[in-house]
Subunit: 278 residues, 2 copies
C-alpha cells in the first residue's frame, strides 16, 4: 500500500467525519502540525451519524477507511465523536496504519482539569448511548463522576448557521440546565460541531466551568504519536503540491462554502466520491 | 415478478420515505383505502434526504424501489416530497409497476383551492431547489404565482418531538414571515413531516390561509388510480395476514416508537434491512 518511495513521513494524514464538523479538527492539525498534508473525507451524503446505530456507523466508517487507504495515508484521524465512540475499537483491529479518535484525548484532558471530580459530556445520542467518555475517564480516575447529555438539535442548528442566535441560546439552556444542576466544573464538547457554538455554551455554563474541546487535544495527541513513530514530516511540502485535499460523498459546492467559514487557509476544491463503492 | 397466483388486486402497496415522515401518508392510505395491505420502507439510516443532491436521492430511491419490488407490490407510493421532486421522473421510466409521488396531488389541490392565485410552498432545500411544485402548478394554471421557502430546521424539530413548543413557533415565524408578506392564500405543506406541526403553522399563517396536506391528496389519488386500473383489493385481508409491514434501514426500535405516535393501528413490528445491498 505504501509505495511512496520509502519516505512514509511525507505521506498525508487521513481525516474523516460524518460531515463538516470534523473540519474543527482539521483546523487544529493545520495549526499545530503545519508541515503535514491532509486528505479529508466528509460523509455529507449520510450525515448525521449521531442518530444512527453502532452497526451502521461502523459499516460507514469502514468504507471511509478503505477510501482513505487508497490515498496511501500514513495515519487516520477519526474526527467524529460518534464514529470514535461506535467504530474505533473495530477499526483499530482491522487497519494497517495507526488510527486515533477524538474521544480519548478529550477524556484525558477532562480528567486532568476537573477539580471537583464532576464532568459533563454533551454529544450526540449515539455517543452518549455508548457511554464511552464515562468508560475512558473512569479508567483514568475512578473517583470522577460523569454526567452525559444528548443534544440532538445542536448539529442542525450549527449547520443552519445559527451559531449566535436566541433560538440556539434557548435550546442550549434546556439541554444544559440539568448539567448545571449537577454542579459540574468541566464540560466536554463531545461533538465536533460544538466548538462552533462555544461562546453560547460558555455563557450559559458560566466562568466556573472549563470547556474541553477534543479537537485541540486530538491534534496534540496526533503530533505526539507521529513524533514517537518517527512519522512527522520533516519539511514543509513544496509549493504546488496538493497539500490539503477535501472529499465528500455529496454536495461538494455547499461543503466548500461551509468549510471556508471554518478554515482560513481556503479550501481550493472539494471532490465528490461515491463512498458506497468502497 | 408477480407470481401471486393471478390476483394482483390482493398484492400489497409499497410506500417509502426518507424516514418517518411518510407515515403521515401511510396513515391516510389506511383511512381512505382500508382493504389494502402495505409494505412501508423508511430510510432511517440515510435520513434526511432534504439536504442531499438530486443524484444521491435518485440513487437511494432506486435501491428502495428494488427492495419493494422483491415484495411483489402492485404499486409504489413515493411518500417523500424530496424523493418525489428529485427521483420520480426517472423512477417512472424504469419501474414496471405504477408509481405515484406526493407532489402532483398536492400541486393539483393547491391550484384548485387558491382564490387570489398566490400559493406558498414550504419544503426541504432539495424540494424547493427543484422548483417542481412551481412547474406542476403552472402547468395546471399559468396565472398562479408560487412562493417557495426552504425550512431545514422543521424536520429535526419534529423528530425531536417539539411539535408544540415556543422554539418551533419562533423558527416557524421566521420561515413564514416572508410568505405572509407575499399575501398567499394557500400554503402547501411540502414535506411529509410538516402535517405534524400543522397547528403551529396554521396559527402563524392565520385563518385566511388554506393549508394543503399532500398526504391526504395522495391517498385520494392512489385510490382513484387503483380503481381505474382495476387494482383495488375487493375484500379485507383475513385475520392473521401480515397486513401492514414496516422496514427501515436502521434503528427499528426507535422507529416503532415514533410510528406508534403517528399511526393509531399499532405497528406490530419493524425490521431492519441493509438497503445498500439492493
Amino acid at each position: 500500500m505504501h509505495s511512496r518511495e520509502g519516505d512514509l513521513r511525507k505521506a498525508p494524514i487521513g481525516v474523516f467525519d460524518s460531515g463538516v464538523g470534523g473540519l474543527t479538527v482539521v483546523r487544529e492539525i493545520m495549526r499545530q502540525i503545519p508541515n503535514e498534508s491532509i486528505i479529508f473525507f466528509g460523509d455529507t451524503a449520510r450525515v448525521p451519524y449521531g442518530s444512527k446505530s453502532k452497526e451502521t456507523v461502523t459499516r460507514y466508517s469502514r468504507q471511509i477507511v478503505r477510501f482513505l487507504l487508497t490515498h496511501e495515508v500514513k495515519t487516520i484521524v477519526v474526527a467524529c465523536n460518534t464514529a470514535s465512540a461506535c467504530a474505533l475499537e473495530d477499526l483499530e483491529k482491522e487497519t494497517e496504519v495507526p488510527i486515533i479518535g477524538v474521544v480519548k484525548p478529550g477524556a484525558r484532558m477532562a480528567s486532568q482539569v476537573t477539580r471537583n471530580g464532576r464532568i459533563g459530556v454533551i454529544a450526540t445520542e449515539a455517543t452518549i448511548g455508548s457511554r464511552i467518555y464515562s468508560q475512558y475517564i473512569q479508567e483514568l480516575n475512578s473517583k470522577v463522576t460523569i454526567f452525559g447529555k444528548a443534544c440532538p438539535l445542536f448539529v442542525p442548528l450549527v449547520e443552519e448557521g445559527l451559531w449566535q442566535d436566541p433560538v440556539t441560546d434557548e435550546i442550549a439552556r434546556r439541554y444544559l440546565t440539568e448539567l448545571i444542576d449537577c454542579d459540574i466544573d468541566t464540560l466536554i464538547l463531545g461533538c465536533t460541531h460544538y466548538p462552533l457554538i462555544r461562546s453560547t455554551l460558555g455563557k450559559i455554563m458560566g466562568e466556573g466551568v472549563t470547556l474541553v474541546n477534543p479537537a485541540y487535544e486530538t491534534a496534540r495527541e496526533l503530533r505526539r504519536m507521529l513524533e514517537e513513530k518517527g512519522l512527522l514530516n520533516p519539511e514543509e511540502p513544496g509549493l504546488g503540491s496538493n497539500r490539503y485535499q477535501f472529499y465528500v460523498s455529496d454536495k461538494a459546492e455547499k461543503f466548500k462554502q461551509f468549510a471556508n467559514s471554518i478554515i482560513k487557509y481556503g479550501i481550493l476544491s472539494a471532490k465528490t466520491v461515491n463512498i458506497e463503492d468502497y
